[in-house]
Point group: D3
Amino acid sequence: MYEIGVSAQFEAAHVLAGDFGPATRLHGHTYRLDVIVRGERLDSDGVLYDIGKLRTAVDALAGSLNYRNLNEVPDLAGMNTTAEAVAQYCWGKLAPQLRGQALTSLLVRVWESPQVYAALDDLLSKPPL
Amino acid sequence: MYEIGVSAQFEAAHVLAGDFGPATRLHGHTYRLDVIVRGERLDSDGVLYDIGKLRTAVDALAGSLNYRNLNEVPDLAGMNTTAEAVAQYCWGKLAPQLRGQALTSLLVRVWESPQVYAALDDLLSKPPL
Amino acid sequence: MYEIGVSAQFEAAHVLAGDFGPATRLHGHTYRLDVIVRGERLDSDGVLYDIGKLRTAVDALAGSLNYRNLNEVPDLAGMNTTAEAVAQYCWGKLAPQLRGQALTSLLVRVWESPQVYAALDDLLSKPPL
Amino acid sequence: MYEIGVSAQFEAAHVLAGDFGPATRLHGHTYRLDVIVRGERLDSDGVLYDIGKLRTAVDALAGSLNYRNLNEVPDLAGMNTTAEAVAQYCWGKLAPQLRGQALTSLLVRVWESPQVYAALDDLLSKPPL
Amino acid sequence: MYEIGVSAQFEAAHVLAGDFGPATRLHGHTYRLDVIVRGERLDSDGVLYDIGKLRTAVDALAGSLNYRNLNEVPDLAGMNTTAEAVAQYCWGKLAPQLRGQALTSLLVRVWESPQVYAALDDLLSKPPL
Amino acid sequence: MYEIGVSAQFEAAHVLAGDFGPATRLHGHTYRLDVIVRGERLDSDGVLYDIGKLRTAVDALAGSLNYRNLNEVPDLAGMNTTAEAVAQYCWGKLAPQLRGQALTSLLVRVWESPQVYAALDDLLSKPPL
């Protein structure tokens, strides 16, 4: 199996609801977003998928969250903006443009700091969330 | 599948027995301990497992090894303190508190330096070591 | 000249006033705080200053800013919470406990991300801010 | 399952053919090469495989690519030197010496920068490429 | 004294002339460019200089070197593209737009890898190179 | 002023004497050694000093401390192996080969972890320690 990965960064505020101690105060992170796709075969150019194209998509997504309060991002409003939820949101945003190609699965990892992340790893054949 | 990961650090000495060249001299490392748990579903708060709670457990474990000679840590005494063995030890210490929840597997990665690690990845349903 | 440095981290939200584009929207960072002290001589234990003691002071300061909105931290309220201002604030908090010892200067560096920082470097003999 | 990983670095030039925009101009990278092997059991010394031995093999491979134009490395000449192709090349070079031991799979990850990688992950029992 | 720093990255090929062993073969690096400016006073917005403005300038400079053979960059052609020379080149490109403000000095650091850099640190009042 | 820097790594055990809490237990670190030299002018090859030559010297020094108990290194025996003392030791080992050239000062930084370092920065014209 081949895989390629690209990373981007965004700097955002958020606040959690629930029994999460200090995370229920407004705070922020320099998020790192890792996006990884997998597949079985390289094409005739010797690539699984064009890394430059993946990078453009991931940079655009990170850019849309940069210098934002995540709790005010339309698709996240009303949700708890846990790292898991942000990973799920990014997975859902990226998957449509990656289906119908030679890619089998998509992993999105959202780091809140160099010590903490959440990720969602799923088959691209899974019906849209 | 969702996963969350947290990392901690400990600074320890150790010495290996066996045919391992310079590693059979007393030396030390700034270890990095990565702990990752996986599961299929988020709960109603939008988390797989409380990252803060996982972090507390991992920090406590790393703290118990910090500024120690690993060969003198009771549960490691008499073992070869390879990175694999330290990963196995940490897996065994963390698994009990992670069972009986919505988590399916636990991965423990022990870095001896930014270039070298060993890891143990296993189902939480596996009987205790 | 000798110097010692310790680093800590805090995760905070803030918003800037002024002509700073996207930084005038509420957002956040995983800040890294580097604190460095300098002096000419080691003491009889072979240290410029006890790194453990410095670390305790820096961790306490970082902890007081962790999971906060910097614009609501009492001593920063009413100021523009630029990285320069946060560095100045941290310098002012740390300097008193470092004066009257063999240390000549104090440098505080505040990273908003791995790509951006501001710092204040000054003599400890300088009158308090 | 256990795994061990080692990393090395090489600094090389290359150029791509195809519809890859700026990557079709001669350029270069500080590559990071991550090599990971997996297996089910530790031997009587408490290791999956001797990390020192794996490191020697990986350092030799990285050394053979260091300060080179990848398009002139004999086994890569005539290929498109994508990160995927370099990962495949490294996999093929390392696998023979890792077969016939207690190792089940080999993962080779080739980072072109801290933000971009390609990887090949396969069973060691797979017939040689 | 205050300082602010921003970093950018570029991925380039180059070759050295002279008695520099393997560096006289065509090779490449993922360069990291650190740019730091210093001054004595913050303005009424609480900044030494607008970090966003500095970042725009540094990103543009890094972009002009990205995916290039440094030996073919017009202003570097005919020079030995040592890390020192690249630092000097970047210093000369950035200094004009930083003069005539409250900044006293400019430091440019050019990393060829995470282990190796060259830098030029000079007063902005120095006559242009 | 120009400067060049190179880094190396060594993994060692040590123990401190004195009132240093947990650091008085045998422990270890993955040390990072940063060595920086400065001077005013580039030579006709466009370098301050051959980075490859500096790297060879620094790698040899790091190699001599790798997989050692610092308290048993002959020149450190009988000293308190604080990070400051290790920096002083490395400064003294490197300075002789760097004198009598166009270099004015030498800075040695010894990191015990990514969060803690000590350094010695001095003129190369200073009489040997």
